[in-house]
């Protein structure tokens, strides 16, 4: 067998170099994209988890509160418990750096306690710094930077770094490093008392890390400690805390992996089409081998080996490509591929054996799977019949299986109603797969039906093309299934992205009604506007009204990541992008209203009219859910309450942002300048709604960059499919073309015949793909996005774009068919009609 394998089967790959190269390339691309995504996210997640573990240190349990922190009396009480061996309080501040675009995570720690709980955070005083000595680390202005933060900020020990508190820029001295933080973590460490003072958080901490006495059961301790904590403060194991945080980016990562798997499937599909064509072309050769005594199993093995070799080579090539791609992505886009999940990390690319081997195997699998049906087809043929000339077309008569289409569609519909598994919309993805399968299975029948419409045509080339496609719809399937799949996916993505973008745009417009926005720090970092500052802004000339916004986070339970609390004037919900029904409180003394985001409604199973307990200021306060609003910014959930309610409950009058309405005739630029003059330039950001929209949409587009790239690859592979199919078909049909040339068709006319066939095939494929794409878009929007990110959007069809895309694709496919048929046309008509060749 091995000699036969080499000379008969594998040698055939060499004979059809172009088709082999294209299938190999497609598999390599699929493997490369999938593995690159895996590597990038793997490295980012590794670094992320390492950071979490580093910060958790030796802690057995961690107590977390809202971002604003909780009373440090809790620390004294917890530390006094009998189970607790060591307790280390931490104040975590996301410090805005005035004049820079990045923020720095600063951990205020108690140097004496931290040594036992998180040794990795222990600072090391640099000898180059001015003050050294045992107490240098406790100095009020001493900040220690991790090596990564030092590199990112470009700052050396002894130099000063300004951090923002409120609207003030406060200089800190870089007193040394945090050597154990490693190269991947950008962070700073300072004394907790100094940090409390500096950032206006006196008496507040945001975390307590605990080590239990030996022999204490962790779960029991967790339960007994939880009973001591005020509302909104929870005790978690470090593993839970890490899992909650990494779960945030999971849906996004799964989405990208799915796209890569689709590329891999397309590669397997190309193997299928080239193998089917190769089998058609080698029908007589294979029949002859069977006649010589090659048994069925050996024939199948040989043909599968062809696919496996293509898959293996493609897989190996893909691995090399993947590492190259991942390296590029780390340099240019970052570890989250532009989606913003892993800020402040410097992950490094490493060789990762397990996923690499897994992806090579996936490549081989794609190759073998693609070779499977053609191999069976070849094994089934009757050698005696196949030895007779002229029945290559038999392979393509493929029994139409249109009856399977309704079954696929029904199944897909059913799957859409199933809930996600572990937060991943597995059934939604399965529905997409069934929709695609249904579309491809419907192809032969649809080709035959649509050829019926061309019945009246008089042009002989059209008649020939029509007859060929109607009699051998299998050919259309081979050539058009790639088109269907890639068009469907591209159209689905296009509709989804266009709907998403349109909805985001509308959403931005509705959440940005004011004339100017002033922000003391993005994402609620260490900047804020004290009440005096708010009044100062309000009293500036040209300003008609201001509306403050305050952010915090709330931990509703131990199971899930905290939700964002937004306190702002709401006007009974009128100022929110509400979706669905709303209710208003009937009596004035009823519980205050809260408006929850779609994500919060999904994640916490809350509906309009429910009573929601929010832990604010260490107390549980009942709110009445008055409405659900759309939020594209926080997939972990957000809740809006009236600013007045918040202030009454907390006594916190600070604001993170101000929405500013201008007086009639006031110039936005003049007013902005006046605010800058009053508050300082570095510590605040002023933007018009237009700026914010532009920036947000730019971020949106960057997030979808990878998606666009993968989409382009899918279409490219689809076109490859058309051209390899037609190249293969043209070779398989040499005799036909040779005979037609004898009958007096010119080379040009045979070229046109192929063009017409290509165009017809692509037209049917594109039409089917468009319809399937529309259906898939619906699943993406209503099921996959909803279940992954918990947001809804309004469907919007980019019609003009789709029409242009369809036209261009049909043209390109016609061109591809013609170009790839060229080889066959060059071939001598004389040789083609000879009996044995």
């Amino acid at each position: 067998m091995s000699a036969a394998l080499r000379h008969v089967f594998l040698a055939s790959l060499r004979r059809r170099r172009l088709a082999t190269a294209l299938s190999l390339f497609a598999i390599a691309l699929g493997v490369a994209l999938g593995l690159a995504v895996q590597l990038i996210h793997g490295a980012a997640l590794d670094e992320f988890g390492r950071g979490m573990r580093l910060l958790a240190g030796e802690a057995d349990l961690q107590v977390f509160g809202p971002r604003a922190g909780f009373d440090d009396a809790v620390y004294a009480e917890i530390a006094a418990q009998a189970e607790v061996a060591d307790a280390s309080p931490v104040l975590e501040i996301d410090a805005r750096l005035p004049g820079r675009d990045i923020s720095l995570r600063i951990f205020g720690i108690d140097m004496f306690r931290a040594a036992h709980v998180h040794p990795a955070l222990m600072p090391q005083v640099d000898t180059a710094a001015r003050e050294t000595g045992p107490l240098a680390a406790l100095a009020a202005d001493a900040l220690f930077l991790s090596p990564a933060a030092r590199t990112a900020l470009g700052i050396a020990p002894g130099e000063m770094l300004a951090v923002q508190s409120g609207t003030h820029a406060l200089p800190l001295r870089i007193a040394g490093t945090v050597p154990a933080a490693g190269l991947g973590q950008e962070l700073g460490v300072m004394d907790i008392a100094a940090a409390q003072l500096l950032f206006g958080r006196i008496g507040r901490i945001s975390r307590i890390d605990l080590r239990l006495k030996s022999g204490i059961d962790r779960d029991a301790a967790r339960r007994s400690l939880a009973a001591l904590l005020p509302a909104g403060v929870e005790v978690l194991t470090p593993e839970t805390a890490e899992a909650q945080t990494s779960a945030l980016s999971q849906a996004y990562r799964v989405n990208l992996t799915m796209l890569a798997i689709i590329a891999l499937l397309t590669g397997g599909f190309l193997v299928f089409s080239t193998q089917l064509l190769a089998v058609a072309r080698r029908r007589q050769e294979l029949a002859f081998l069977r006649a010589l005594g090659l048994d069925r199993a050996a024939l199948i093995r040989g043909l599968l080996a062809e696919g496996a070799v293509v898959g293996l080579t493609g897989g190996l090539l893909g691995i090399v490509l993947a590492y190259g791609l991942a390296g590029l992505a780390f340099n240019y886009v970052g570890g989250d591929l532009g989606a913003g999940y892993f800020r402040g990390l410097r992950p490094a690319l490493r060789f990762d054996l397990r996923p690499s081997v897994a992806y090579v195997l996936l490549g081989v699998l794609a190759g073998v799977a693609g070779a499977w049906l053609p191999a069976r087809e070849a094994a089934r043929m009757n050698p005696a019949r196949a030895l007779r000339a002229g029945d290559e077309a038999e392979v393509f008569q493929s029994r139409p299986r249109a009856y399977l289409t309704p079954a696929c569609l029904a199944l897909a519909t059913l799957l859409c109603f199933l809930p996600p598994l572990g937060g991943v919309p597995i059934f939604g993805y399965a529905a997409v797969a069934f929709l695609l399968a249904g579309a491809v299975l419907a192809l032969p029948t649809l080709v035959q039906l649509s050829m019926g419409f061309l019945d009246g045509t008089r042009d002989v080339l059209w008649m020939l093309a029509r007859a060929r496609l109607a009699a051998a719809p299998g050919q259309a399937v081979v050539a058009a299934a790639g088109v269907v799949a890639s068009v469907a996916l591209a159209v689905a993505m296009a509709i989804m992205v266009s709907s998403f973008r349109h909805s985001v745009d509308g959403w931005l417009e509705s959440i940005l009604p004011a004339d100017l926005y002033l922000s003391a720090s993005p994402a609620a970092t260490s900047g804020f506007l004290a009440p005096e500052m708010q009044e100062q802004v309000a009293s500036l000339p040209g300003i008609a009204a201001i509306r403050p916004v305050r952010f915090d986070t709330l931990r509703l339970d131990t199971e899930r990541f905290p939700v964002t609390l937004i306190a702002r004037p709401v006007d009974g919900g009128a100022a929110l992008p509400l979706v669905g029904a709303t209710v208003t409180a009937d009596s004035p003394d009823a519980a205050p209203s809260a408006w929850i985001s779609e994500a919060m409604a999904d994640l916490f199973a809350v509906k309009v009219g429910d009573v929601l307990q929010l832990p604010i200021s260490g107390r549980r306060v009942a709110f009445h859910v008055a409405g659900i609003w759309r939020d594209y910014a926080r997939q972990h959930g957000a809740v809006v309450i009236e600013l007045a309610d918040y202030r009454a409950l907390t006594g916190d009058f600070n604001a993170n942002d101000l929405a500013i309405w201008l007086a009639d005739g006031a110039e936005p630029d003049t007013v902005a300048q006046a605010i800058r003059n009053a508050l300082g330039d570095d510590t605040i950001k002023i933007a018009s709604p237009g700026d914010i929209r532009a920036i947000s949409l730019a971020i949106f587009d960057r997030t979808f960059l990878v998606t666009y790239l993968m989409e382009a690859v899918a279409i490219l592979i689809g076109l490859f499919g058309v051209s390899t199919s037609f190249a293969g078909l043209a070779t398989a049909r040499r005799k036909e073309f040779g005979m037609l040339r004898h009958l007096g068709l010119t080379r040009g006319e045979i070229g046109r015949l192929l063009t017409v066939e290509g165009a017809l095939t692509a037209a049917v494929g594109t039409a089917v793909g468009m319809v399937a794409g529309g259906a898939i878009a619906l699943v993406l929007v209503e099921v996959i996005n909803r279940q992954s990110f918990h947001w809804s959007m309004d469907i919007r069809l980019p019609l003009a774009g789709l029409v242009i895309f369809a036209g261009a694709l049909v043209l390109l496919a016609a061109l591809a068919a013609r170009l790839s048929g060229h080889q066959a046309m060059r071939q001598s008509a004389v040789l083609a009609v000879r009996e044995d060749w």
Binding site: G390, D391, A393, A471, K735, L743, G744
Partner: protein
Amino acid sequence: MLDIVGLTKGYEGGAGHPLFTGVSLHLERGECIAIMGESGVGKSTLLNCIAGLEPVDEGSIRLAGAELTTLDDNAFARLRRQHYGFVFQAFHILPHLTVVQNVALPLWLLDRPGREAENLARAMLDRVGLLARADDWPRHLSGGELQRIAIARALVHRPTLVLADEPTGNLDPERAIGVLDLLLECIRDAGAVGIIVTHSRAAAARADRILRLSAHGLDTEVSRP
């Protein structure tokens, strides 16, 4: 009708000398000849030269007085469409067209109206005795039947010249004679010129003349009255 004078043909990288030289032939309307010769002497090549599918090195080919060797590829294709009919050893019937469509194919290429093409094709099928199979798919037919369809296809557009390269090579001897007689009859009926290459002396004997091809030209072997 067909005049060939001093035809010489060799292949590049061939034996160094031409395959054949000085091939001359004159055929009258309605005349059918058989060409015989050893395998590899160039019989198929000669037919291909006459069909314009192989360039010739020297000599001239005239059909009804018009010189063919100077025609370009496309012009020759159009000429073939109009004036040539072919019968191949391996039939070459298109599997995705029905029997009658296969026969009508040359008429389609000549832009004859669909109805007329169909009627002519059916008439021609009747002539070769296969009208009953007109709407069948070719894959259900035997070799002899396929070759009769090929004959119908070769003559349906009333060509001036019919070229047949071992038309009976794939058929059993008895059927071979029947098919060949049918071919000759049809060619004579149509007033065309027929050139049939064959290895079978029995088959060749049915033609008006038998010529033997050698490296030095075509020699008359047996002539019949």
